[in-house]
């Protein structure tokens, strides 16, 4: 378990995180301006920001609060679809695109938070693996429900139905979400700047939550629930706080993600997406916000870059093998000792160097 440093140390740590994000943003902007960034790399910037936000927010639940959630993509989905609907509905009301994007993200966050609250209140009573399976179930339910929803908007307002025939819109209205086809014709409002801004907001929220009185209560509950409850910390309240905050951030990330593509299907946010984000969190280090961020950026961008090569077929196979090996090497005492020794002689670096070391130039 990571020890809490002194107040000064934690705030410095937080400042470094902001600096990394701003530095990376400026660097990438400069590279983009100089035309050094390929199109394929440019196109992964916004989703990479979304996944970084997802990883940091999931870390609040899995790392900071110590509850395993396997349905984080469900909140992303809620945010994506509500965000898309909001962006289309506000088309005339808010013509300024960045403002509309911000409004869509806020609405996405609200829907995410609402989902988090509805799931969190009953579910946080469960422990460990049961909590995991219920969050998994929740993710599936969200995906399933969005697949049968038809949403349209016209002059009278927003229409929601589960039957395509019943979606009757007035003249000038548009159907936004079309059941299994997902959201089509969404405005592509998302920008890299918005992604970086959302990431900064996420860091701000997450770091201030962790370093607050509530955050310490959440950490205490994670480390020893019984001891924490016995000194009067209400477990339900603080677990729910972490869960809802995380869901809200995931919702905002979802809205940004949804508005980056002209069409989005519900199955994009399936169990595999939840697992992908969980892998980022675990490889980045539980409870380590910077680790989540860097792991998400590297692990999302690297496989995307490998798409172009002729090893594309083996891309996921290699990914799986690396995943298993990293887990074995970081968790098996014998291997850890052996490779620790070798590495010390070769690189004089910590075992996580493979994941974290490359993050410096991100």
């Amino acid at each position: 378990m990571k020890k809490l440093g002194t107040q000064k140390r934690t705030s410095l740590n937080g400042l470094i995180n902001y600096a990394i994000v701003i530095g990376a943003y400026v660097l990438l902007r400069v590279l983009m301006g100089a035309g050094l960034l390929s199109n394929s790399l440019q196109s992964v910037l916004v989703p990479a920001c979304c996944y970084m936000v997802m990883a940091v927010s999931l870390n609040l639940v899995v790392g900071i609060s110590g509850e395993l959630s396997l349905g984080h993509a469900g909140f992303m989905s809620l945010g994506a679809f509500s965000g898309i609907v909001a962006a289309v509905a506000l088309q005339n009301l808010v013509p300024f695109a960045p403002l509309r994007l911000a409004a869509a993200m806020v609405i996405g966050a609200l829907f995410g938070a609402l989902g988090g609250f509805v799931v969190g209140v009953p579910v946080l009573r469960l422990r460990g693996d049961y909590l995991a399976i219920v969050t998994l179930a929740f993710g599936q339910i969200i995906q399933n429900i969005i697949m049968v929803l038809y949403v349209g908007v016209d002059a009278k307002g927003i229409h929601v139905t589960t039957d395509s025939a019943r979606l009757v819109l007035a003249e000038g209205g548009t159907a936004i979400v079309k059941g299994p086809m997902g959201a089509v014709g969404a405005p592509k409002l998302a920008t890299f700047t918005a992604g970086a801004a959302l990431l900064l907001v996420t860091l701000f929220v997450a770091q201030n939550l962790v370093n607050s009185r509530s955050g310490r209560a959440i950490l205490a509950l994670r480390d020893n629930r019984i001891a924490a409850e016995s000194v009067g910390i209400p477990a339900g309240k603080y677990k729910l706080m972490a869960f809802v905050t995380s869901a809200a951030l995931a919702g905002a990330a979802g809205a940004l993600f949804g508005l980056n593509y002209s069409s989005t299907v519900a199955s994009k946010f399936n169990f595999n997406t939840s697992i992908l984000v969980l892998v980022f969190v675990v490889l980045g280090g539980l409870g380590n916000i910077r680790g989540s961020m860097v792991a998400a950026a590297l692990l999302y961008v690297l496989p995307e870059l490998l798409r172009g090569f002729n090893i594309a077929e083996y891309r996921m196979l290699v990914y799986a093998v690396i995943l298993i090996l990293v887990m074995l090497f970081t968790n098996n005492p014998t291997l850890q000792g052996f490779f620790g020794g070798v590495r010390e002689r070769l690189f004089q670096k910590a075992p996580e160097g493979t994941v974290k070391g490359g993050g410096a130039n991100e």
Partner: protein, 292 residues
């Protein structure tokens, strides 16, 4: 009559889920890990049987036995290479490793056998007509129910009467104490994986016979559903997995028939959530309060 027909379909589907869930539950009971790769072992089993029948022209029974043998070996290998080194590791690390194994199997299968969907030849053809043709039962459905009952009875006898079965129960209760009593914990866990994987192969062949499509991702969703069934009945409990599997099959079939085809998953998982809220350890699971 359609009600009875749906019930029969539900029970046979549930029997397949139950066989998969038994594998999940036994592994969870003893190794305390969510083995996400279990669903992909199902797929491997189905592929072995597919090629045994299709490419080598072996009789279906031989194909089934071959699939079970291959999966048993696969299960033991996975356990030895991926899970055994992590016996002392935090459960999340083991979970991620299991996910890695699942990716590995899925993508390995995709490279070896291609991503295209294949049509599986059922191991048993034909159906039984009852009540003047109003009720039809496929032979595969009957076979699934029979297999499930046989497996269930055998496992109950095995864990209750044999030395190895008792060792398994001892390990699942307290590994340290079991070791002190002279039980070889490692080989017991390997044995559990072997049995679970053999059952997965059986379930894979039955499932692909009932729903004859086969692709590298075939096992993933049925794996999750079966896992749900195991939790539903109370994970770690053998009768619980059986009950959970059958109930899940019936609920899914009824939801498909009477509510909506596309919402069946939502109904299944919704029922799961409600059950867990009322009985947090599943239907037949034991709730063990934490001791201070």
């Amino acid at each position: 009559m359609s009600l009875l027909n749906n019930l029969i379909i539900g029970v046979s589907l549930g029997s397949i889920y139950a066989i998969i869930a038994l594998g999940y539950t036994m592994v969870y009971g003893i190794a305390k890990m969510l083995n996400f790769a279990h669903g992909d072992v199902i797929m491997v089993g189905a592929f072995v049987s597919f090629f045994a029948a299709g490419s080598f022209g072996l009789p279906p029974v031989v194909g089934l036995l071959l699939a079970m043998a291959v999966c048993t070996l696969l299960g033991i290998t996975i356990e030895r290479l991926a899970y055994k080194p992590l016996r002392q590791a935090p459960s999340l690390a083991v979970l991620i490793t299991a996910i890695g194994v699942s990716y590995l199997l899925q993508n390995g299968a995709q490279i070896l056998w291609g991503a295209a969907t294949k049509t599986f030849t059922p191991i048993l053809e034909g159906q039984l007509s009852l009540a003047g043709g109003q009720i039809t039962v496929t032979y595969v459905a009957i076979l699934a129910v029979v297999c499930c009952l046989v497996v269930m009875v055998c496992l109950t006898l095995f864990t209750g009467k044999t030395k190895l079965g008792k060792a398994m129960r001892a390990c699942s209760e307290d590994k340290g104490a079991a070791q002190l009593m002279g039980i070889n914990v490692d080989s017991t866990i390997s044995m559990t994986f072997a049995i679970g994987s053999a059952l997965a192969a059986l379930a894979g062949v039955l499932m692909c016979s009932a729903y004859p499509v086969l692709s590298p991702t075939t096992g993933a969703l049925s794996g999750i559903r079966a896992f749900t069934a195991a939790v539903f009945g109370g994970i770690g409990s053998i009768p619980g997995a059986f009950l959970g599997g059958i109930l899940l099959g019936i609920i899914e079939t009824f939801a498909k028939a009477y509510i909506s085809t596309s919402l069946s998953d939502a109904v299944v998982f919704g029922v799961l959530i409600v059950v867990l809220l009322v009985k947090p350890a599943g239907l037949l699971g034991k709730y063990v309060p934490e001791k201070v």
